[in-house]
């Protein structure tokens, strides 16, 4: 009996061993290569227009950045949401409420190379460049018509990112395609600003040629590309080319114009004054913004940043006209402190502004990159062509159009560069234009020196450029040089 049992067992054993050996050989390949079931395998992606468009929208999403109150990780990219720190707060326009912490380094012109916000902006905008390069690298499967548009959008956004980077950091790495982490030569070599501007100009020219008007203003359009290229030309001193582009946008047939009420520019989204904006949606985790709430009194992560300075308040009080009420207000919680009202998340009953979101920490106010008033004032600047003043009637017409909307109807016969700069300051206050305007007009050094002396700040001429983030320097093994003064 036992013998029989043993025989059976022996057979079972043989079967088992064969089975195991068999299993280990035959299923090996599939067993060791489980499919990716969530997430998308990029290898099979970007095969049609829908998929490529998801990549295009991803570039805008890069500029949009992450709401730091909804997704809390300092290492994420916050994109345009932290732009005010590196632009507006480095001017006479804004400061922190309490003059404290890392954020206060900007207003004191005391930025350290370890400043996390500077690193965030650098990282974010190179990430935008990367996302654009990814689309440009994957255009082959797009339909012929769509490929043109997608190329235009990608190049518009790449140029927009580089235009900001080059003005803030000076010579920077030149990345116009996808690069591997091993390509440290590209990643850590700073090239001259002129080469960066060459790329920006070519990209924007492509965008102007490839894009059309008529889409939503949170997507790139021909007009947006023309306007941005005009600003690039102004920066480079190519005034007549700028003027041509601006007059093309100003053609009434294009459909752009000023809002009657200044307030509506900001609180009536999708209006025809805005040529290009970064879209946000209220009360969403992925697509809302927190800069609006950071500008309030200790509702966001900060205790209040981007507060209007007394200097800005005085300028607005004197020259703002009816724009002033919709530019700043006194902090209801803290007398003597002034908040920006262009992007309020929770509204203001006194000003007739309704809340834009139910939770102010996930605000939906769009960020305006380019609007028609800017086009008009750039038109004046293009005609002035680097001179001290202009009496051109075309220039005066554009200038007056902006002032008239503000209720300032007194006619002028000439415009000086300082008057234009002042007009830009009050019209575009707190819209991250002031720093770049002062640079472009060649007034930054004078204005900051005076402002710094009057307020006991630490401005020196090397503060016009931000430091290259210390983390990049640390990883570069000596390849990457720092800007002077840091």
């Amino acid at each position: 009996m036992n013998y029989k049992k043993e025989k059976i067992m022996k057979q079972i054993k043989t079967i088992l061993i064969v089975l195991v050996t068999f299993m280990s050989i035959s299923c090996e390949d599939t067993f060791l290569s489980p499919d990716l079931t969530t997430g998308i395998n990029a290898e099979n992606y970007f095969s049609n227009d829908t998929e490529i468009e998801a990549g295009v929208l991803n570039i805008y999403d890069g500029v949009q950045g992450v709401n730091a109150l909804q997704i809390t990780n300092n290492d994420l990219n916050h994109g345009v949401q932290v732009e005010f720190y590196v632009t507006e707060m480095r001017t006479d326009n804004t400061e922190t409420k309490s003059n404290e912490g890392e954020a206060a380094q900007f207003e004191f012109f005391d930025i350290r190379s370890t400043n996390g916000i500077v690193a965030d902006y650098y990282r974010s905008y190179y990430n935008v460049v990367f996302r654009a390069n990814l689309v440009l690298d994957n255009l082959t499967n797009a339909s012929a018509t769509k490929a043109i548009t997608y190329e235009g959008e990608a190049k518009f956004l790449r140029a927009y990112a580089y235009f900001n980077l080059v003005r803030l950091f000076g010579d920077i790495p030149y990345v116009d395609k996808l690069i591997s982490p091993l390509d440290t030569q590209t990643a850590f070599t700073r090239v001259a600003t002129t080469q960066i501007y060459d790329l920006i100009v070519v990209d924007l020219q492509t965008a102007v040629a490839n894009l059309t008007d008529g889409g939503p203003n949170d997507r790139a359009s021909k007009a947006a590309a023309e306007g941005l290229l005009a600003k690039v030309y102004l920066t480079l001193g190519r005034y007549s080319e700028a003027q041509t582009l601006l007059e093309s946008v100003m053609d009434p047939a294009r459909g752009f114009g000023l809002q009657t009420n200044f307030k509506d520019i900001f609180y009536n989204e999708g209006n025809n004054e805005v040529l290009f904006a970064i879209g946000y949606l209220p009360d969403t985790r992925n697509d809302s913004q927190n800069f609006s709430t950071e500008w309030l009194n200790a509702v966001g992560r900060t205790s209040g940043v981007n507060y209007a300075t007394l200097d800005a308040k005085t300028a607005l009080d004197t020259y703002g006209g009816n724009r002033t009420a919709f530019s700043y207000r006194e902090d209801q919680s803290q007398a003597g402190k002034y908040q920006v009202v262009k992007y309020l998340p929770d509204g203001d009953a006194n000003l007739g502004i309704a809340p834009t979101s139910s939770d102010s920490r996930s605000a939906g106010n769009d960020w305006i990159v380019l609007r028609y008033a800017d086009i008009l004032l750039m038109h004046v600047e293009a005609i002035m062509a680097g001179g001290a003043s202009t009496t051109s009637s075309n220039a005066i017409a554009s200038f007056q159009q902006v002032r008239a909307r503000a209720g300032l109807t007194t006619p002028v016969t000439s415009i000086t560069a300082d008057e234009l700069l002042l007009e830009r300051r009050v019209e575009l206050a707190f819209e991250n234009q002031r720093f770049f305007d002062l640079l472009r007009f060649g007034k930054a050094n004078d204005v900051f020196t005076a402002y710094s002396a009057a307020n006991g700040l630490g401005y020196t001429s090397t503060d016009l450029l931000l430091p290259i983030p210390q983390i990049e320097i640390g990883l570069s093994n000596g390849l990457l040089s720092q800007n002077p003064g840091y």
């Binding site: 067992m9 054993k13 088992l16 195991v20 280990s24 090996e28 060791l32 290569s33 489980p34 079931t37 969530t38 997430g39 998308i40 395998n41 990029a42 290898e43 998929e51 998801a54 999403d61 949009q64 909804q70 300092n74 290492d75 309490s98 003059n99 404290e100 380094q105 690193a119 965030d120 190179y126 990430n127 460049v129 990367f130 990814l134 790495p173 990345v175 690069i179 591997s180 949170d218 997507r219 989204e269 999708g270 970064i278 879209g279 009360d283 985790r285 697509d287 205790s303 919680s333 139910s358 939770d359 920490r361 996930s362 006991g456 630490g458 210390q470 983390i471 640390g474 093994n477 720092q482």
Partner: protein, 1026 residues
């Protein structure tokens, strides 16, 4: 539960009565020591598996009633136990030999076992003799100081949180440097250690060198901890009950508390007067120590009941455990219930089958906040408004925000601003501001949040063992490990300054299923003096995880917050992944005449984590040993009882890394696009795709190559025994999630890069100092020295990085130094108080900035003046334990220490308010401002993390035999246990837990942010067996 115990007792008594209904007679004899034939008094003589027993008298004589078939067991501490079967003997004289014979205990080696005397690798065995009577909640906490080369650090002090385990230093320099944990042959997540019941553990085997762990191939790289749970033994039902209850309290930091009184005295002495701010603070009349509030201590209770027994054919063991640990932090709590069932059944001479099932349920309530954030709050702030403090509340401020404040409300710093000292009342804009934050009360942040992690786990396995022929066995085992983890985090309407609009509920469910199938063929044969032991096997492993999360925002109130009460669903997300491992392995052990030993092993692992060309890794090892003491020239030595030389060489691997994204962790060779991101187009939400990673199709196994000579010895009648090991472990092709330039579009990339060497010496020395009848004393000294060096880092050599872009203190990874070294400027001197703006607010006389040294003397401070400031790796870790047995009492204590490690204590920056602003010092009067830098970038916050702790003190009373037999018990012990009664930290260390380390990557290790405190426990326990 009490009723259950009673029922069990009745049941057992009944069983006992049944058995004793046989004919008995009295047997007697003398017990002597084998070495000198002297009589041994006090030897325990017991009928195996019963509670019947006696002891030898002063002349070594005994007598006891037995019956045929009984097995008599003679045991005596320090001597080997002897068992004799009763077959009508009337007298039975026994000689016991000293413990040297215990050397032939069996050691579990992974897919097999080996005689300890035949070991050629570095394996430490820890038997659970009294570990279950140490008052700790987790099994890994009990292992601290038990084994050389194993550093267990309480990096988190929260109830139920896991310590960090490192075997022979940090090998892998990526996220995971922890050892592989294997429970009864089943690999589990390290996390599983929190679900195990110490009472149910038989032993730990720790495979330290590569030759020993190479059988686990790819995952043996950081060492292996094999855990064996208790199995049933042949005999009557044995019941064991252990209970332990105690109190935990935190060790506080003196430096992290400045009382109002101290601030006042400091300012008075320095300036001769008090500023308005200080006067207001004084008037509020509160002087809190926030450490008292958030380190509230707690009670813990542990009950464990096990039942085991069996027949020759069927053996069973069942255990039940309940633990509740209140933890030392405010609101943290850990509760565990687990059951462990094990049954083995021998079907016939050849076939044995068995199963085990281990469900466990844990609920961990977390301290949902950061101690550094709370402890930086000033002492004048009360938790709640009371009759005095309410008078200072400014009802006009902040737009009348605090107009309705009442007694019992949380006190918020801003409420106390703008107080008019002259009028003696809050003012409308002309008073003194004393707040330094607009945040809500720190206690509210903890008390108004509820974060609970619930883990339901099931580990089960079945096996069949078939004896094919003499010495040849086939074994097949299948096991499954399922974990359901649910984390809910509710941030209530009072938990932040933003009220209801910031209230949130996050609920995340993670389900992980893991199955493993092992098949092994084992062959053992002794031919003359040759002994062979061989294993061949295959292993399949499959792991699958699904993850789902949902977030609801804005709750009207805190009443029963569930997701459907949220105003809106603000986030929903899910993912799943799968990973597999396929292995073939074999090992051959050979011994000749018990003298010459050799062992070879090989494993080939295929992992789904790597791309098609790099899936497989080969891991081989060889080791040799020589039992010199068995040679003729030493055989009769009076001095040397044991002397074994061994040497091993082996290769192991690692395929584990952490990138922060689960998909990338499991499919790093693919370019993955997110499918859960949205963007805005035309004012509407649209799907966007964003790359998650830079794919690396060439990514492959990290390797560890280890060379380990060592020796084991026993001297003077085994009075002194121990082992010495030297090792060098070289890790190369390190799996790194290395920082890269952000111009690539990414911040990190996964690469194989570099080489790290750990080398060190481990010593274990055990002595039996006194072996007397009524007094025994033994000591154990364990020490490990380790040196960590980055030997190759290719193009990344010298890379400098930080862990937090907001506080960008730097680490350097430089060849010739440890993997992670702190980097920065060297402090020259403090800025004199006269130049500090507002030195007495908010906390006494402390600046965020400091003068640093111009190391290269070029007159400016820049990157060239930075240098290495220290490293987080201990040079020496040791423990010294003593056990005493005095009559029926046993006393033991263990000191444990660590020396040479440093931490970057960011807690200082928070707590001493070094976060204030750029306006720390007066920019118009302060001299040499170009030499001033923030302290966080200097060695000001690099602190010596050395410590010496009195880890354990245990005092037990073992009930005398007489009492035991009266009570029908086989064993009873009453004990008190204390942990960390003494805890001495190094000079200059300001925090409350030098072992606390934030979870950062291995290239930026040693970051401490206050963390949670070291705690001591005092507990009382009772252990009963019958």
């Amino acid at each position: 539960m009490k009723l259950k115990i009673k029922l069990t007792i009745v049941l057992i008594l009944l069983v006992n009565i049944c058995i004793s209904a046989q004919t008995t007679y009295t047997i007697s004899g003398v017990v002597t020591a084998q070495s000198d034939k002297s009589p041994l008094p006090g030897v325990t003589v017991r009928i195996a598996n019963t509670s019947t027993g006696t002891q030898t008298d002063f002349d070594g004589e005994y007598s006891i009633k037995v019956k045929n078939g009984d097995v008599l067991e003679f045991s005596y501490l320090g001597y080997g136990t002897k068992t004799v079967k009763i077959t009508d003997q009337k007298t039975l004289n026994i000689s016991l030999s000293e413990e040297s014979s215990l050397l032939d205990e069996i050691v579990i080696t992974g897919y097999g076992t080996q005689k300890k005397s035949h070991l050629t690798g570095a394996i430490s065995k820890v038997k659970n003799e009294t570990l279950d009577q140490i008052g700790v909640a987790r099994v890994d906490d009990a292992l601290v100081g038990q084994v050389s080369g194993v550093n267990i650090q309480a990096t988190e002090g929260e109830a139920g949180s896991a310590p960090t385990i490192r075997i022979r230093g940090t090998g892998s320099i990526n996220g995971n440097s922890g050892p592989l944990v294997v429970v009864d042959g089943v690999p589990v997540d390290e996390d599983f250690l929190g679900s195990l019941d110490m009472n149910n553990i038989e032993s730990f085997e720790i495979l330290k060198d590569a030759a020993s762990s190479a059988i686990y191939g790819s995952r043996g790289g950081n060492g292996v901890i094999l855990i064996t749970t208790k199995s049933g033994k042949e005999g009557d039902l044995r019941v064991s009950y252990n209970m332990l209850t105690g109190y935990k309290s935190a060790h506080q930091s003196d430096a992290y508390h400045t009382s109002v009184a101290e601030s006042v005295a400091l300012e008075q002495e320095a300036t001769g007067t008090l500023s308005d701010r200080t006067r207001v603070k004084q008037l509020i009349g509160v002087d809190n120590n926030w450490q008292d509030i958030i380190f509230d201590g707690g009670i813990f209770t542990d009950h464990s009941l096990s039942l085991g027994g069996g027949t020759e054919r069927t053996k069973y063991n069942a255990a039940f455990n309940y633990l509740n640990d209140e933890g030392v932090l405010l609101s943290d709590n850990f509760e565990r219930t687990s059951v462990n069932l094990k049954i083995d059944h021998k079907l016939n001479k050849r076939l044995t089958v068995g199963l085990s099932a281990n469900p466990s349920f844990t609920t961990q309530k977390r301290f949902d906040g950061s101690t550094h954030d709370i402890l930086r709050q000033p002492s004048w702030l009360p938790v709640y408004l009371d009759e005095n403090s309410i008078q200072f509340v400014n009802r006009f401020r902040d737009g009348g925000r605090y107009a309705n404040a009442k007694i019992g409300d949380y006190a918020i710093q801003r409420m106390f601003d703008d107080y008019d000292l002259v009028a003696g009342a809050p003012s409308m804009g002309s008073g003194t501001d004393i707040s330094n934050t607009s945040n809500t009360n720190p206690a509210a942040k903890i008390l108004e949040r509820d974060r609970v992690i619930q883990r339901n786990k099931f580990l089960g396995s079945i096996y069949a063992k078939y004896k094919i022929a003499s010495g040849l066995t086939f074994r097949s085992k299948a096991s499954m490990n399922y974990q359901y983890r649910r984390e809910t985090r509710y941030q209530g309407v009072l938990s932040s300054r933003n009220g209801a609009s910031a209230s949130r509920l996050d609920s995340t469910v993670t389900k992980t299923m893991r199955w493993v199938v092992d098949n092994t063929l084992t062959y053992t044969k002794e031919i003359g003096k040759h002994e062979v032991n061989a294993v061949l096997g295959t292993s399949f492993e499959n792991r699958k995880q699904t993850w789902n999360t949902i977030q609801g925002s804005v709750f009207q109130d805190d009443i029963d917050p569930t997701i459907n009460k949220a105003a809106s669903i603000t986030n929903q997300d899910a993912y799943e992944w799968k990973r597999t491992l396929l292995s073939f392995f074999g090992r051959l052990n050979y011994a000749y005449d018990n003298k010459y030993l050799a062992s070879f092993s090989y494993r080939r692992d295929g992992s789904s984590v790597f791309g098609p060309n790099t899936k497989y890794g080969d891991f081989a090892a060889a080791s040799l040993g020589w039992n010199a003491a068995k040679e003729d020239f030493l055989k009769d030595s009076e001095v040397i009882n044991r002397l074994k030389f061994r040497v091993s060489y082996g290769v192991t691997g690692n395929n584990d890394f952490r990138t922060g994204d689960q998909l990338v962790n499991n499919y790093p060779y693919l370019a993955i696009l997110s499918n859960n991101t949205t963007g805005v187009s035309g004012g509407a939400q649209n799907l966007v795709v964003n790359p998650l990673n830079i794919p690396n199709p060439d990514l492959t196994w990290e390797r560890q190559i280890e060379f380990n000579p060592g020796l084991d010895f026993a001297l003077f009648n085994n009075r002194i025994s121990g082992s010495i090991d030297y090792y060098t472990r070289t890790s190369d092709q390190l799996l790194l999630y290395n920082p890269i330039s952000s111009t690539t579009g990414f911040s990190n990339a996964l690469v194989n890069l570099g080489e790290v060497q750990n080398s060190g010496i481990e010593v274990e020395l055990r002595t039996r100092n006194i072996i007397k009848d009524k007094f025994k004393w033994s000591s154990t000294l364990i020490a490990s020295k380790n040196k960590n060096e980055l030997t190759d880092f290719a193009a990344s050599n010298g890379q400098i990085q930080n862990v937090d872009s907001k506080r960008a203190a730097e680490w350097i990874n430089l060849e010739g130094n440890p993997i992670s070294s702190f980097y920065g400027w060297v402090v020259d001197k403090e800025i004199p108080l006269e130049f500090i703006n507002d030195p007495y607010h908010p906390i006494g006389a402390s600046a965020q900035d400091v003068y640093v040294k111009d190391l290269n003397g070029d007159g400016i401070i820049d990157d060239d003046d930075k240098t290495i400031l220290g490293n987080p790796y201990p040079d020496l870790v040791w423990s010294f334990a003593n056990d005493f047995r005095i009559g029926n009492f046993d006393v033991s204590f263990m000191f444990q220490g660590s020396h040479g490690a440093e931490v970057r204590n960011m807690g200082d920056q928070y707590i001493f308010n070094h976060f204030n602003s750029a306006q720390d010092f007066n920019t118009s009067t302060t001299p040499d401002q170009q030499f001033i830098r923030e302290k966080i970038f200097t060695n000001s916050i690099i602190q010596d993390a050395s410590y010496i702790a009195l880890r354990n003190v245990n005092i037990g009373y073992n009930f005398a035999e007489k009492t035991l037999s009266k009570l029908k018990l086989s064993n009873a012990r009453l004990y008190v246990s204390a942990q960390n009664l003494l805890y001495i930290t190094a000079d200059g260390y300001t925090g409350f837990n030098p072992e606390s380390i934030n979870n950062t990557s291995a290239t930026t290790y040693g970051y401490q942010r206050a963390g949670s405190p070291v705690f001591s426990t005092m507990s009382l326990g009772l252990n009963v067996q019958f």
